[in-house]
């Protein structure tokens, strides 16, 4: 069972109820539960506009990776629609290094439910889906029970909180596929198909689930909504940094003394997050590199980590905030091995629809495997870079970029290590076979 950590620098907004038994509906109610949705309903005719304005004022940007402003996303849904509208909560959480939604589902499932209702009220949807990855079956049970309890109290279903509006929630899981986290692939999966993405446009806000306008948000984004409505958009925005409202759950993993999920204000310094919050590098070793926002984000060198954790500052630093999964590598890690393990994941998870992604990930993996096993030449490093550069921006969905970006970071920033490895490696030395590395299927 995940252990909860804490640090004095944390600002607990989303994690306020963690560890207090809030999966129980009575406890949730005691801790201001379902007050936000009632506050929204109390706005009367103005409800939808009030929710969206508050969300816009909060400066909340999506926690699923791309950082799109949530209030704006909700405002894109057409007011009038012949087809029913839907809310789809993305709890697929499959980016390596990321485990924050896990903690929300475990400790505060009602916040996700209440957030789903709020998103529904904002866009005029009567139905929401909460989709968890298949591996989270034990969490699904917790969420299912929370949904059932909410129905039993009359919070869900017909005439919610006397508003005259109906709202239903259906929960389900996937069955193991990273690509299903991509929003249009998620819709395909929920419709009972293979999880391959759809061509855009049309965008989900206009043509989404079952052809109806659909809002898709990450579970953390959705769970933030009730807190924002209760504290007010401006107050929430103030906690964060410029253009990056509020707090975020950061998962710090790898070679740190105190790995865990911490809630820090947006813009918090990455170096401080590693050294103060997570207790520094494990066993007094030296820092070698940081993958800052889940495995798809380009790597940072130790001299590059004095940077604020928000979408803009990370972008300026040449990387991304991504899913907030900070992976810390100490001096003992071989970047060659790490880069291979990273691309092996994307190769395995490519849905195979477009050639640059399917072939690119495969060739990069094969080339790095040869290098890793001692049969590489210096030309291989240039080849890997060439392959990755040719994937960038040439695929149907961002998985191709997600595979190419970290690869480019590794070969550019650690080129010398790759070359030294190739030079110094006695050909044929058995280390680990590609099957051992990539056996997962």
């Amino acid at each position: 069972m995940p252990t909860l950590v804490s640090h004095p620098d944390e600002v607990k907004v989303i994690s306020r109820r963690f560890g207090q038994g809030a999966a129980d509906i009575d406890k949730y109610l005691e801790l201001d539960g379902y007050k936000a949705v009632q506050k929204a309903i109390a706005q009367g005719e103005n409800m939808a506009a009030w929710i969206i304005d508050t969300m816009k004022a909060s400066g909340l940007r999506g926690r699923g990776g791309a950082g799109f402003p949530t209030g704006m996303k909700w405002s894109f849904v057409p007011k009038q629609s012949e087809k029913p509208k839907y809310v789809l909560v993305n709890g697929d959480e499959s980016e390596p290094g990321t485990c924050k939604d896990h903690v929300i589902f475990l400790h505060d499932p009602h916040a996700v439910i209440e957030g789903t209702m709020i998103a529904g009220l904002a866009i005029g949807a009567k139905m929401g889906f909460i989709y968890l990855r298949g591996e989270y079956r034990y969490l699904l049970k917790i969420v299912e029970k929370a949904v059932a309890d909410a129905y039993a109290r009359g919070f869900l279903g017909k005439n919610i909180f006397g508003s005259g509006l109906d709202f239903d929630i259906v929960t389900q899981t996937g069955a193991g596929a990273y690509e299903v986290g991509e929003e249009s692939a998620l819709m395909e999966s929920l419709e009972g198909k293979r999880g391959v993405p759809r061509i855009k446009p049309p965008f989900p806000a206009v043509v989404g689930l079952y052809g109806g306008p659909t809002v898709i948000n990450n579970a953390e984004t959705i769970a933030s909504a009730p807190h924002i409505l209760l504290m007010g958009g401006e107050a929430y925005a103030k906690i964060g940094s410029e253009r990056n409202g509020g707090t975020r759950l950061f998962g710090i993993s790898g070679h740190v003394e105190r790995p865990g999920v911490y809630e820090l204000p947006m813009g918090y310094n990455l170096k401080k997050a590693i050294y103060d919050v997570a207790g520094g590098i494990k066993d007094g070793k030296k820092l070698k590199a940081v993958v800052p926002g889940g495995s798809s984000c380009p790597v940072l060198l130790p001299e590059e980590i004095d940077v604020g954790l928000d979408f803009d500052q990370m972008g300026k630093a040449g990387t991304m905030l991504g899913s907030g999964g900070i992976v810390v590598l100490d001096e003992t890690v071989s970047i060659v091995e790490f880069a291979l393990r990273t691309i092996a994941f994307y190769q395995h998870e490519s849905c195979g629809w477009c050639i640059p992604c399917r072939e690119g990930t495969d060739w990069i993996k094969k080339t790095l495997t040869r290098v890793y096993n001692g049969g590489g030449s210096k030309k291989d490093v240039a080849n890997v870079q060439y392959l990755a550069e040719n994937m960038m921006g040439r695929t149907f969905c961002p998985l191709g970029d997600a595979a190419a970006m970290p690869t480019l970071g590794f070969v550019k920033k650690f080129r010398k290590e790759f070359e030294d490895y190739i030079e110094g490696h006695k050909a044929g030395t058995p280390i680990i076979t590609v099957e051992q590395l990539v056996g997962a299927h």
């Binding site: 995940p2 591996e135 259906v170 389900q172 419709e191 790898g254 070679h255 790995p259 992976v327 395995h348």
Partner: protein, 169 residues
């Protein structure tokens, strides 16, 4: 009452499936969850499972197989009673995921996707399972075990072997 007269599933599962299809605007949406629940009960997605699910959702068997082959948690062969899935992705790798996997291979005497002779355990190397901050981690069926050491793995496996493990299905 199940809408299928001679269902291969237990009455509870059949009833669950009857209910599941009513939840969605389109019946087919129940497909992925149904395949998983069926697998939990039967042990794998057998031909009979495919046939009945296709029937329940008014799909062709080909449609069902098409989806079945996409998702890595769905299998067409039986696994062990306890399916041990060890993560070796980046965060786990940094904290000894490969040692844990090797240890499991030795301890159980089987490799990736193999089943012990008595059918009690199967072993799989899997991609990130969303427990990165508590790495290294593994799942036994749907039950998470984290902050693993080889000693802890031994204890966990013995608990299951003794039939005392929590079986989260």
């Amino acid at each position: 009452m199940s809408e299928i007269a001679n269902s291969i599933f237990s009455p509870a599962t059949a009833a669950r499936f009857d209910h599941l299809v009513t939840l969605y605007p389109v019946k087919r949406s129940a497909l992925v969850p149904m395949l998983l629940y069926a697998q939990d009960e039967v042990g794998y997605v057998s031909d009979a499972v495919v046939t009945e699910i296709a029937q329940r959702l008014d799909l062709m068997e080909l449609d069902v197989r098409n989806v079945l082959s996409y998702y890595s948690m769905l299998r067409t062969k039986p696994a062990g009673k306890y399916n041990v899935q060890v993560c070796t992705n980046i965060s786990c790798m940094l904290r000894g995921g490969y040692e844990i996997l090797d240890h499991c291979k030795h301890k159980l005497g089987i490799g990736h996707k193999e089943v012990t002779a008595d059918g009690t355990f199967s072993l799989e190397e899997v991609e990130c399972i969303g427990a990165c901050c508590w790495a290294p981690a593994m799942q036994v069926n749907y039950d998470f075990h984290d902050n693993l050491t080889t000693v802890k793995v031994d204890e966990i496996i013995e608990t299951y072997r003794a039939g005392k493990g929590k079986d989260v299905k």
